[in-house]
């Protein structure tokens, strides 16, 4: 879809600006691209506000029916905003992880980070049952950060420079963290409940219960300001150090951002598989690896993608819902498989 959009926009531009200087053409093209993505995001957000079991039309929102306005402010708006934030957060953290490990196939799913966040949450629930959301989020954060450190160390020690091998080890690492979590779940006889928490689902997002997700915003902001430095990290340790980069600091900062974003999202909605893998890859395939330039596109596209998946999930078996974890898992997994098979 984006590709066709891009083609269309390109054609329009080619027709419109024949004779214009190259630089302004590129700039216009970029603006148009972002404009289109923003429009897509806005349209899907509006649709998301008005799709659901309770019948609320755009018209109702303006007539001021108290009950319907309450529904929007208590459920639909929090849901839409957390979908947008989760989409932005997952795709930017995927991008950072790919830069830090210098591997296109690394993402929160393929590095064990999501499993670590889940394990942290589960342990918080077991050890401190009365803990507040903040405490649980803290647990998830610590676990994600530690797991990312361990994973980076593993990547460093892999001598086979095979692009495929790194995500393979990462997935195994995730499976281990998962089996540790399962061990506790079996002991407490809560396997089915744990499954239910972990399957990403935004239908339980209500005002008063979702605010933790705003913690992903500062992380995304930091990512944007440090974007150029992350691009340098992606060029390798020696090169980055040679250019005067404080390698350790930027590396840890990246991990900090990723862990903060992921734990906020897992706490609010659950683990969203493959999103952080597929979106950055699709976007950088088209627009290149300069993070500062493509970050807005990645964020916009990630958010729109997640929103659209959620809307489809809400409509397919209406009035019931398919959890977004399943929707994104299937669509994202299929895209990832195609990427793998078409890779030369």
């Amino acid at each position: 879809m984006i590709r066709t959009l891009q083609k269309v926009s390109y054609k329009i531009l080619m027709n419109a600006s024949t004779g214009a200087v190259g630089a302004s053409l590129i700039k216009n093209k970029k603006l148009l691209r972002r404009g289109l993505l923003t429009a897509l995001l806005l349209v899907s957000s509006v649709v998301s506000l008005f799709v659901g079991v309770a019948d609320i039309s755009v018209y109702d929102a303006f007539t001021g029916d108290a009950e319907k306005l309450f529904l929007i402010s208590a459920s639909r708006f929090p849901r839409t905003i957390s979908l947008v934030l989760a989409g932005i957060g997952m795709s930017t953290s995927g991008l950072i992880m790919q830069q830090l490990t210098r591997n296109k196939f690394v993402s929160p799913t393929t590095a064990g980070s999501l499993d670590a966040a889940q394990l942290g949450l589960l342990l918080a629930l077991i050890l401190l049952p009365s803990a507040g959301t903040f405490m649980k989020g803290g647990f998830a954060f610590v676990f994600t950060f530690a797991a990312s450190l361990v994973f980076l160390r593993i990547v460093d020690s892999i001598r086979i420079r095979n692009v495929i091998f790194v995500p393979l080890v990462g997935l195994m690492f995730g499976a281990i963290l998962n089996s540790v979590a399962t061990f506790f779940a079996v002991n407490l006889n809560i396997v089915q409940d744990v499954n239910a928490w972990m399957m990403a689902d935004f239908s339980g997002v209500l005002s008063g219960k979702y605010e933790m997700i705003y913690f992903s915003l500062p992380a995304v902001a930091i990512t944007y300001f440090y974007a150029n430095k992350f691009t340098l990290i992606g060029m390798g340790e020696d090169f980055a150090k040679n250019l005067g980069l404080n390698y350790r600091f930027v590396m840890n900062l990246g991990l900090f951002c990723v862990s903060l974003t992921l734990s906020a999202i897992v706490l609010t909605a659950g683990a969203i598989p493959f999103l952080g893998l597929v979106v950055p890859n699709l976007v950088t395939m088209m627009y290149g690896d300069n993070i500062k330039k493509v970050l807005p596109e990645i964020a916009l596209f990630g958010a729109a993608f997640l929103l659209i998946c959620d809307i489809i999930g809400r409509l397919i078996i209406y009035p019931f819902e398919i959890p977004i974890g399943l929707m994104v898992g299937i669509i994202g997994g299929a895209i990832f498989l195609i990427m793998l098979l078409r890779r030369r």
Binding site: I160, I164, M172, A175, I176, S179, G325, G333
Partner: protein, 316 residues
């Protein structure tokens, strides 16, 4: 070499002692029943040990990597999806509709079918990258897992326990008929393939060297991939998923033995697996009093061992 012999004797006697101890420990009054029951479990443990040892060691040789196990290719996800689907469709009637034997055979057919689809997908593309094969299997596995977890959410909590019982390996209720079939399939596979076992020694050298030494690389890889698929399916269908067992025992075996001959490594690894499984079974029965299935204990220990392997090793 001398060290090897001593170690082999040690591990064999350890295996025998642990089995005898398991059989006769605290027999009680109705000793005939207890012996028969424990004998069945022991036989199942031996079948699983042989399958896991053979499949894991040859898999690690094919991939020239010691931190991988064939389970990651998605076999267990297929098994779990099938079990979940059965309970999802037939609910608590699933035992009546599909009996144990049918379930066993169906699981094997599904898992082997999945493996062949996967192999065909890769080889039709003309891709001979082993890691790609694994990653695709793994991603498919995650997809199937997501689907299973979704279905598991919808299952009635009472019926969910049927699924949960299948999620983790257990030797506590082994069916005699299934054991016979499993033994039969295992026997045939081992008999047919064991004379090619020395080719694994050459495959372990890597693709280029193997071809250089005159081995038909692709053909042999395919041969052992089929063997692996069959063995993993049999052990999974018989006892349930044992994700990290292979990893644990194969690496223990490499520590014990100082040889590259697969005709020695594989049998010794089977013995090590038997010791680990008998020990684990003893733990579940007498320490945890059957509150935790052996599969979770093994995954827990095997998982921690894997992290240790990853961190300790300078090179992977």
């Amino acid at each position: 070499m001398r060290n090897n012999k001593i170690n082999i004797v040690l591990i064999s006697s350890l295996a025998i002692v642990s089995m005898v101890f398991y059989l006769f420990f605290n027999l009680g009054n109705s000793w005939e029943f207890a012996l028969y029951y424990r004998g069945m479990k022991l036989a199942a443990i031996l079948v699983v040990s042989c399958s896991v040892a053979y499949s894991t060691v040859s898999f690690q040789t094919l991939t020239t990597n010691r931190i991988l196990t064939p389970s990651i290719m998605g076999f267990e996800s297929v098994f779990m999806l099938l079990q979940t689907l059965l309970v999802f469709i037939y609910a608590s009637e699933s035992f009546k509709v599909v009996n144990n034997l049918e379930n066993f055979l169906l699981s094997i057919v599904c898992m082997i079918g999945f493996a062949f689809l996967l192999y065909m997908l890769i080889y039709r593309k003309g891709v001979s990258n082993m890691y790609l094969l694994l990653l695709i299997g793994l991603v498919l596995g995650i997809l199937l897992n997501t689907l299973s977890s979704f279905l598991q959410l919808l299952i009635d909590p009472n019926n969910f326990f049927i699924v949960q019982g299948k999620m983790f390996a257990s030797f506590s209720n082994i069916n005699q008929d299934l054991l016979g079939y499993a033994l039969f399939i295992l026997g045939i596979t081992v008999l047919l393939s064991f004379r090619y076992i020395k080719r694994l020694d050459i495959l372990a050298l890597g693709r280029e060297q193997a071809i250089n030494l005159g081995l038909n690389y692709n053909k042999n890889i395919r041969l052992f991939l089929v063997v692996i698929a069959v063995l993993v399916s049999v052990s999974t269908a018989l006892a349930g998923p044992v994700l990290f067992l292979g990893l644990l025992v194969s690496n223990l075996t490499y520590e014990i033995l100082n040889t590259y001959k697969h005709e020695i490594i594989i049998p010794v690894c089977a013995l090590v697996t038997a010791v680990v499984l008998v020990g684990g079974q003893f733990l579940t029965e007498y320490i945890f009093e059957l509150s935790i299935p052996i599969g979770t204990i093994i995954n827990f220990i095997g998982g921690i061992y894997f992290v240790y392997l990853l961190i300790r090793r300078k090179k992977l």
